[in-house]
Symmetry: C2
Subunit: 601 residues, 2 copies
């Protein structure tokens, strides 16, 4: 039994829920079929289990160290070995065209594959994730020459990449970045400034590091409209592709984190010890647009990381609960009788179901969103592509945040199932909990996602994105046939009504601050409804498949139906409560003054 994946669940989501085989019927995925994809997943799983999983505790314990003198940041050799295995399997190029040496997989398949690595070892998976994100930017917006110089190296994992957005004074507020890029007159720019929280910003893993960096060209518009995107390599690469000397990027410090400790995270100075040169990507002042063009994927990817940390904890605690014996059931207190496996206790089953409901529910959302990315790419018309994009825009903050909250919660219960053992480094669950805590913070913090959903996404095109979503949910409701699911359909319909009313109240609120004050509870409630919908969809498919299922599959489908029931009884009722709070335009937070909170100290 794998510690990082339920392959049956992966197949269920890919082929039974998202019907990914349909993608293989036409361009650009006609080179694929299910057998090929499954064998790619097999290989990826083997690499993740051989090179990533066994060293997860080690790369956590031996966090990257700055070695004074040499100026190098030393990462355990296992990290490089794992990334080499990933690169050798061509996995850096999963979603890139075959013409640039990629595997040209649908995004949803690549998501399935990358989840194996993040479940096994998020710290190592981060290096490739960031490199691929940077490579995507270059692939889409870079010049042919820039692609020639950088892309192939990155797709071979020979040069790793980063995304340099935040600065010490500008974390959530990118409008306030101050890093400057001045034209050198020779087609390159001189970069001056400091970048913060740069994952993979320095290490000894690759001969070069390709930073994709946001900076302002003096004289441009203020705020986010004056941000441009640059390629700033650690070692300069001239126009003939020759690797030069240091590009004067100075490591100011490593951040020592609670989790995801195996990924370096750096404060970097540019242009302090000598000139730091960069290539402008695309047009000036368009940097944030380019960056946000891949923001859906980046945020889905963070949500996915949260899910896979939750999944690894769930699987581990499930196995532990099946082996470890402790206590007896109510009514059976004879101390001479053997103790029962933990999994026999109702409360332990509750903690396992809570994890399953969160993890598999959220995974369904991640796959749904990933498949939307693919559907948008092959949409038969621009109008349909626009609709899919709108739908994706609405779902993205949910896909980023709901797992960050509820799969972290799942990790909490995984620890709890193990008891004291779960609190020690002898088991991975405490590390997974620490790792997962990051996901609410990076790529747009929880509160930012709430503002994004309620302040922007549900208002786009006159609220069309939300209506598209409700339309999709309605389509699922129409398929629900089994009488067991009728009460769920009613509950879901009711929760959508609460959602609508809360949205109207906020959108119509003349006081903009008050109207957005409860954006985070709104986001959380929206997540409950969306995950509830996707559980109902899973349960409906399970009911359809049950009659023809063999014994093993029978239990699998029954478990889907049980987890759906768990979600609707234990979790979904919270959505209406939250939406009612939001709808009331509660002003408790806005009327509270700093003086109140400091009073009496």
């Amino acid at each position: 039994m794998s510690a990082i994946v339920s392959r049956r669940d992966l197949e269920f989501l890919l082929y039974e829920c998202e019907q990914v085989e349909r993608f293989f019927q036409e361009a650009p995925y006609a080179h694929l079929d299910r057998e090929t994809v499954d064998s790619m997943i097999d290989s990826a799983q083997a690499i993740a289990e051989e090179f990533y999983l066994p060293v997860a505790a080690k790369v956590d314990a031996q966090a990257p160290q700055f070695v004074a003198g040499g100026g190098d940041v030393v990462v355990p050799a296992e990290t490089g070995k794992a990334l080499r295995a990933y690169a050798d399997a061509g996995l850096f190029g999963q979603t890139f065209a075959q013409s640039v040496g990629g595997l040209e997989l649908p995004y949803v398949v690549s998501t399935a594959i990358n989840g194996l690595f993040s479940a096994a070892n998020q710290s190592i998976a981060n290096y490739s994730m960031l490199t691929v994100a940077a490579a995507h930017l270059l692939d889409k917006w870079g010049s042919e020459q820039q692609k020639t110089l950088f892309l192939a190296k990155m797709l071979h994992g020979q040069w790793l990449g980063t995304m340099c957005l935040s600065e010490p004074q500008a974390g959530s507020s990118l409008a306030d970045i101050t890093t400057r890029a001045e034209s050198a007159g020779d087609g390159t720019y001189r970069i001056h400034g400091t970048k913060m929280w740069i994952s993979g910003g320095e290490h000894n893993l690759s001969e070069n590091i390709v930073h994709l960096l946001l900076a302002k060209i003096p004289g441009g518009p203020p705020g986010v409209k004056g941000i441009s995107l640059f390629i700033v390599p650690k070692r300069w690469v001239n126009e003939r592709g020759e690797l030069g000397d240091t590009n004067n990027i100075t490591l100011v410090g490593l951040n020592h984190k609670m989790g995801q400790r195996g990924t370096t995270n750096c404060l970097l100075n540019f242009g302090e010890r000598g000139p730091t040169k960069g290539y402008l990507v695309g047009a000036p002042h368009q940097g944030l647009r380019y960056m946000f063009d891949m923001m859906n994927e980046a945020r889905i990817s963070v949500g996915h990381g949260a899910v896979t940390s939750g999944l690894a904890g769930y699987l581990y605690s499930l196995d532990y609960a099946s082996e470890r014996r402790q206590g007896r059931l109510p009514g059976h207190k004879d101390a001479a009788s053997p103790q029962v496996p933990l999994i026999q206790h109702a409360d332990v089953k509750r903690m396992l179901l809570a994890q399953k409901a969160a993890v598999e529910g959220a995974l369904a959302l991640i796959f749904y969103c990933a498949a939307l990315v693919d559907r948008k790419a092959v949409a038969p018309s621009a109008a349909e592509a626009d609709d899919l994009e709108l739908l994706l825009q609405v779902l993205t903050p949910i896909a980023k945040s709901w797992p960050s909250e509820h799969c972290l919660e799942a990790n909490k219960w995984a620890i709890q199932v193990l008891g004291g053992a779960g609190y020690t480094v002898d088991h991975p669950v405490e590390r997974l909990y620490r790792d997962n805590r990051l996901n609410h913070i990076h790529e747009g913090a929880y509160g930012i996602q709430g503002l994004d959903l309620l302040g922007r996404k549900v208002r786009l095109s006159g609220g069309r994105g939300l209506e598209l979503l409700f339309g999709r949910i309605h389509e699922t409701l129409l398929t629900v046939q089994h009488p067991d699911l009728q009460p769920r359909a009613v509950a879901l319909t009711d929760s959508i009504e609460h959602w609508r009313r809360a949205t109207s109240a906020c959108v119509q609120c003349p006081d903009e601050i008050l109207g957005l004050a409860n954006a985070t509870p709104y986001l959380d409630a929206a997540g409950h409804v969306v995950i509830g919908w996707l559980w109902l969809r899973q349960a409906q498919i399970a009911h359809e498949k049950l009659p023809g299922a063999g014994p093993a599959d029978r239990k699998f489908y029954e478990a889907k139906i049980l987890a759906c029931r768990y979600f609707f009884r234990y979790v979904l009722p919270g959505a209406a409560v939250l939406f009612d709070l939001v709808r009331s335009l509660d002003d408790t937070c806005t009327v509270t003054e700093p003086e109140h909170l400091h009073a009496g100290r």
Copy 2:
């Protein structure tokens, strides 16, 4: 501004809510007055801030190490220095009679004092907490000679103590301990067995360690009825009080924990390398009764630790949010305008209010329970003492669990307020989060507390304990005068109705397993109602005091009223949802089989 306490809030809880000055009017507390107690709190705060707080990061980073060869476990010197300061102030003896050298403080005052230390540095505070717990057992059940031999040394902090309950095969299930104690015929016993999760079990902090250990005397009754209590010192102490050689207690291993890393946690073998001797405390086979006699206090103390970790995180994130500038308010997006302090953002205020509501609400419960311990001790009649004990029995699992859940949640929001910075070791909030995660596990795990409340406590004396609690809540409701609080009174009354119905459904359920299957949600909901009650009580007192309050106190009282409002609007509505689930006797967890959860793996 202190990082570990709001003194005004401490005074509010002690003197305005619990009216502790009344204790000082008669024996055994007539030697005290408010001025004396306040100056003791001053001194304790000074010690906590000088010796505990500044080394909290260090004792976390430099977890105890086993030094092979010497056989010693080395703890940073700062730990010993802090405990010496605590001892020198007489604080080991806070709640002991003056006749044995104690300060003879009410338990609630001692709770206030100890909270300063656990907020500052839980890892160090654990050593004294465990020693005091062991000393209490000896004081109450030990022979005069045992007290002479051990108690004075422990009350001076010269010898530290531990509680040895769990074993590798017996964590939550104490009925299954197998450690044997065989009479040596000379009044001592020979101990054989292995004890697990022993906090403070080995270290170089004191010349001796006094283990209070549960073991079975062969031939006794099976299960928990055959457990006896023993004094098992690390170095033998003969009947003349002479410190002898090693008592052959072997350190098998140190547990490396996610948090509370500064407290050693050990696997110990007794009697393996030579005879381990012990003194029997009290009568044979009464050990668990003795142990549970102090279980209320031990569990309140764990809950209190959860609160103080939450409090320290709240205060830190409040200060950070007041200083750190980031972003602008909705409707003010001009990038040329200065960024606003984080605390101006509605969502940050929400995260701060969430912390305040959890932390100060839970602290009110801890103080309420602690004062009940005192009231019980000085109760004018046995009947009243019995009532207070029953009430305390009902509240104890709540006081242990609600803070463990919701003040951990508070720590999560403290990290979130800081963003990426909160995820690094540069700030204490990530450590507080790691520390706090333990509290759901030790001294009876969350699920055990749920079973204790629903399976035992609410059924004691025909449900009298619960009715006593509802009576107390009703008394508060009768005092509520201010119109602003009327909706809260209605909501609280309604939530009690939900509680009653859920209780009836479970108690009357003929299927014992099903009736207890949702004990944990029941416990959580009960906590919401109890904390809601104590918030209403705080808000009512605040309303009474407001008209005569000066400007600073005005803001303090207004903040209490706002936090009460926050709790009733954002948290309490969840109670009815949970109670309705419990009342439905939902069987999702009981019908789920292990095969369902393993299907498809």
